[in-house]
């Protein structure tokens, strides 16, 4: 049960890294957390706080449950043989969480923000599913542990680069973060977060970082060989420390995501839907097809 605090810690570190790249103090996430803890919570007229808080609480819970099947090193906290599908299901639960958080306050900007989860989710989900199923096809298993183990000789990031890039994009999308921050966009005064203060707001904002971190962690077993050292380095310089390799790779993935956020502004949902259906889906299908043909051959 160290999983949840661990995820909070790593998500906090990731948020600190982001603060540093934005020219702020690395302590900013801690300051913000304390600030939100000290703030009053708030309600709006004719709202549904119960439902909203179910959603707000569900977000970090979904992130922890998604992380539970990710091998942090060579073993997963819960070694589920259909871990990839489980991960997918938990990440979709997060859609529901954000939508309900936007619905609850009964206010226009908040509802419109929650509503944006739908075009976002429906646009990224198909390429995302194809991207996570492609390594599963290559490894012949839906278990992240088995998929990581199947990359002894060659990382899937090298063998199926399109799927890796698509996965990175969908990590940002599933955490409605960076280019996909429209559900919490500034144009809607914070969107789904527009009416949540105090602890409620903290759950939403921290839950988003936790989701981002958990999803980034899944990239390690799916595409970067899990807790094993890179195949090219020869003998393992840190034998017996798969968690260390896992951490290094996770940091690299998070760094790539931060670079993505800096490079690409927030996309309107109509723009992203166009990109997803015209470019990403065909790309994902082609990548899955190539991998399937190679595996069958």
């Amino acid at each position: 049960m160290v999983l949840a605090p661990g995820l909070v810690l790593v998500a906090g570190l990731a948020a600190g890294l982001k603060a540093v790249t934005a020219g702020e103090s690395p302590a900013t996430p801690a300051v913000e957390t304390l600030r939100l803890l000290g703030k009053q919570r708030r309600r709006t007229p004719d709202d549904d706080p119960g439902l909203a808080r179910v959603g707000l609480a569900l977000l970090p819970v979904a992130a922890v449950l998604a992380l539970a099947v990710v091998p942090l090193g060579d073993r997963a906290p819960v070694d589920l043989d259909v871990g990839v599908v489980w991960f997918n299901a938990m990440e979709v639960v997060a859609w529901f969480a954000v939508w309900v958080a936007g619905w609850g306050p009964n206010a226009v900007t908040s509802l419109a923000g929650g509503y944006r989860v739908l075009p976002l989710g429906l646009a990224y989900e198909v390429p995302h599913m194809l991207a996570i199923i492609t390594p599963a096809i290559a490894a012949g298993s839906l278990s992240p542990v088995a998929i990581a183990a199947a990359q002894q000789d060659l990382w899937y990031a090298v063998w199926m680069p399109a799927a890796f890039v698509l996965y990175l994009v969908s990590v940002a999308a599933m955490a409605f973060w960076g280019p996909f921050a429209a559900p919490l966009g500034r144009d809607l005064a914070g969107g789904a977060a527009a009416e949540h203060a105090g602890l409620d707001r903290l759950l939403l904002l921290a839950g988003r970082w936790m989701l981002l971190t958990a999803a980034a962690a899944m990239a390690v077993p799916l595409f970067l060989g899990g807790g094993a050292p890179p195949p090219i380095t020869g003998p393992d310089p840190f034998p017996g420390l798969p968690a260390l390799w896992f951490g290094v790779k996770l940091a690299v993935v998070l760094g790539l995501l931060l670079a993505l956020r800096r490079a690409v502004p927030m996309l309107r949902m109509a723009r992203f839907a166009t990109l997803a259906w015209v470019v990403l889906v065909p790309l994902a299908v082609a990548q899955a097809l190539v991998v399937t043909l190679v595996v069958l051959a």
Binding site: R35, Q40, V108, G185, R186, A193, A194, A197, P265, M269
Partner: protein, 345 residues
Amino acid sequence: MVLRSVLARRPHVLTITPATVDLGLRLAVEAELARRRWPEASAPVDADVALVLGTPGPRLAAVVRSVWATVPAPRVLVAVPTAGVLRSALDDAAAGLRSSRPRGSRASSLSLDASNDALLPDGDWADHREVDVPPEPQMADLAFYDRDGLALDALHVALGPVLPHWPAGLVAHVTLAGDLVTDAHAEVLDVPASVGPGSRGRSPLGPDRTRLDVLTRVLGLLGADHLAARARHLRDHDPEPGELTAFGRRLHRNRPVRWAVRDVPLVGGAVEERTLADRVAHLAGALGGSLPPPVRPTAEKAVQAMVGLELGAARLVLAALDPDTTLGAGPVAAFAPPEVTHHHH
């Protein structure tokens, strides 16, 4: 208390700006907040400090009241009538957040609702209309127009004047079908509606700083934080012409930004550009050059250009058009709430 001292280290600031505010004051506040690294609050719930610039008229004062009622405690309301008192006012705000009890001694730093009246000008309170807090959607009308010809439920809401990157003092009375703006009218608080035809570019800032001001808002709405910060820095720091053209070129070369503003029409002829992408490209391309300043349409024309767009695109359009609200909404009929013609369900 630890929490309170943490709060005072990095308070989120909500600025409330009257349409008639002195531009210099607004820019000074933005620059000072950036210098202190105090983030801009995205909404009243996100705010620790509510900063009222200039001298709000009676309508905006009513808005300040209703906004202040939604700011969660601990909180401080500060008035900044002139740029001269800005620093001391912000210091007082931080002190007010730090102390567990509000300081009653300083007129500019107040924490209790009861004492807020001292801060606000006298006015006609009968006209109290909640503007920022969207009215709860009672029963929706049928939409007059929407994309798919379905005539689904529509909401009548007032957007502004307290929204991030929003023109000062502007309220847009819009009809929404889902997130689609189907009708929109402008109202500028405390400025009579038909003062003039818009400034046609007579901004006291000068051409380049006006462009940078618009770009700061557009980039801020796009979430391109580092580009927005750069634009604001250039706007506030008397840059070399070379720096300006370099920034313009950098924006022009930035494919993701170009792509993100594509496919949004600018309808109604408020400005000569036909698309949002053109408008942004012209604003960026003219930086450091000798072209005349960008046309700033009247509020009504700019708000009309939101019709037919999704809310996010509509916000970008409004920010890029940058209506001149000092002259009121423009030559339009005064806003009247739409008649409820047809009840549904």
